[in-house]
């Protein structure tokens, strides 16, 4: 898409939301965000780009609703359909979703971007994304919302990707410690199409988290099969399965707050063991962030230092996965 059109779309997005007519409001709901981000991958080569995302949802009618999410961004000047979902809500807070949308594991995939306190998801989620254990697929999800409507009591998801990978994800959540803290566990079992056949894939994610105006924190542990390395072993080596595990923690607290304005700081760390056969092959990550929030506008600076040891020379650690980003985002 031509850059001029990309920028035009970006400007158009929030106007859509503000320009709702009473008639249109009765049928459709518009929400989304626009953001500008100055990003430095590997702490080098800073790039400035802009992105807008718009979700259009129909009003629920006899329990049914449809939603469409589109994204436009200047990095590659593309307009992309991210989600197309049909949703049926039953009287007892149970819902059935069908469509092209996110397959979720862990609390950062349960929450939307506005609830997340960091610009990007934690390092452990990037591993899950790389393995396609999370991300957009064609899914059928049956779940029960919890009383707050922010999370679920349980869910079960069947997903299939265009690469002919199929999976089932079960999730169960419960409040602990008097309700302030939640615990959730996710288990995914799947089949991946690989060179010359298929392989079984499995991953488990366990999360404790707390969200309130005083502080937010989360501790998460993931364990599962590395499908990429396991495929390599199966095709070229001795057919051995390779497992990974990771532990991550994130804490956010406001340092200043006044009416609708606040400044908060975030700190987190992650440890990832990439191969159960070689514990010295790992990644260690430290994340620091500061964010300013005023109503629906947020400005954040995140810096993340990630050191990864080499699989062949474990004592040698490199920092290519480190990154820093300054983001201004407006939700509408």
């Amino acid at each position: 898409m031509d850059r001029r059109y990309t920028l035009l779309f970006l400007l158009f997005f929030p106007l859509l939301a503000k320009g709702e007519s009473p008639e249109r409001e009765s049928k459709l709901r518009w929400e989304g965000f626009i953001r500008s981000i100055l990003e430095s991958e590997s702490l080098r080569n800073g790039e400035l780009w802009h992105e807008g995302r718009l979700t259009v949802k129909t009003r629920r009618k006899e329990g049914f609703r449809a939603a469409l999410e589109i994204e436009v961004e200047t990095k590659t000047d593309t307009l992309d359909v991210r989600e197309v979902v049909f949703d049926r809500k039953f009287d007892d807070d149970r819902r059935l979703e069908l469509g092209y949308t996110q397959k979720r594991l862990g609390v950062e995939y349960e929450e939307d971007r506005q609830a997340r306190t960091t610009i990007e998801r934690s390092l452990i989620y990037r591993r899950l994304e790389l393995f396609t254990y999370v991300g957009r697929e064609t899914i059928l999800r049956y779940f029960k919302e919890d009383a707050s409507g922010s999370f679920n009591d349980w869910s079960i998801t069947a997903a299939v990707s265009e690469a002919q990978n199929g999976s089932l994800v079960g999730n169960w959540q419960t409040p602990v410690g008097g309700g302030a803290v939640r615990f959730g566990t996710w288990l995914m079992l799947g089949v991946d199409k690989i060179e010359g056949g298929n392989q079984a894939a499995a991953v488990a994610m366990n999360s404790f988290w707390k969200r309130d105006s005083e502080s937010s924190w989360q501790i998460e542990w993931a364990f599962g099969l590395d499908p990429n390395q396991s495929e390599f072993e199966q095709v070229f080596d001795d057919d051995e399965r390779v497992f990974f595990t990771g532990l991550t923690g994130l804490y956010t607290a406001p340092v200043w707050k006044e009416d609708e304005e606040s400044i908060s700081v975030t700190g987190g760390s992650t440890m990832l063991l990439h191969d159960h056969r070689e514990p010295k092959y790992n990644s260690l990550g430290l994340m620091l962030g500061v964010g300013y929030e005023w109503n629906d506008l947020r400005v954040s600076l995140n810096a993340e230092l990630v050191g990864t040891s080499s699989p062949v020379e474990p004592e040698k650690r490199t920092y290519d996965d480190s990154r820093a980003a300054l983001e201004a985002i407006y939700f509408f």
Binding site: G135, E137, E195, L305, T318, D320
Partner: protein
Amino acid sequence: MHRGMQLCLAVSLLNLWACRSLPMKEINSYGLQLVSVDLKAEDMGRLNSQVQSKRPVAATIRIAGSMRTQCQVSYAGRSSLDAYRKSFELDFCDQTYRGRESYRLSAQSVDRTMLRSLVGYPIFQAVELKTPEVEAAAAYVNKDYLGLYLLLETVDREFYGKRKVAVREIYKARFGNAGFQRDFLNRLSEAFSVEDKPDNYTFLKELYEALWSIDDDAVFYRRADQLLDIDNFLRYMAAAVFVCHWDGLNNNYYLGYELERQKLVTTPWDLDRIWERTGVFTPQSVISINALLVRLLKIPEVRARWIEILDLLTTRFPLEQLKGEVDRLGELTAQAYAKDPILSRKTQSEELDELKDRMEEWYEKIQDYRRQIAIE
């Protein structure tokens, strides 16, 4: 601004500046063209979950010394899509490399020498065919060494445009069905795909109909000559037979409809199987794969030209020269090959020796064939 915010910003920026001296992964070109692709984990995941549709995702692409762009990559190819080692289509958006806005980073997953295309395309060039530019490359994804790849020009509108040839339809031979067999006369879409114009097989159909409905060879020749650049087709087929490109007589070639001359011109593609299965095939059995070639070779003038082209190729590319080229290219790619996570499981010298043995075996068969047609 709030004082706490100012302090945090200052500390963060100071830390960022200090981090610039951190050790990063070493990237080595191994004496070849260096191509690196960087993708976010989410985009890499999307790429892997959309293998079959080959939908592109955002990426930063760098070709050392030439360009760095933020654009898109997708997986490429057909049979190699299921392979662990996949090819990529690199889209440079508004930037160009060697006059093109896109290039193929080809895994050549069936060629364990990685040299077949490098040795093969110059042979097609020698008979004045337009061929894709190709060079060996050290490929990286997210700073991890992917291995020895080929940076390869694709055959598309940009390919012909760069060579100042205006084309309308571009037919790509596919599924091993494009051998001009009668069975596919009414199923041309199963034998050829058409770029941009999916339903327009009119011109190709006329060529098929001429082949299968005109009995008189002289009449057929005149009609074929109106539709096809016969000399160009013969030069392609002779070079394909010369290198045992058995996968290129009903597959892996392009027919472009040239607007100026209003004729189809042939372009080679995907030489990763040349000099393969030389024990199974003979030049005659390779020729028999393509019914149009078989029919044309029945015409004495065409046959004479065919012999002329074959003689040109055997004179221009003696066996020892071909073997020497394999050795030279083997040396050039040796370091990248030795570090390749998959190829390094093989011994390069053994793979090259096997290729040279197959070249020798095929060369003898070509010479036998040449002697036989001289007698005929």
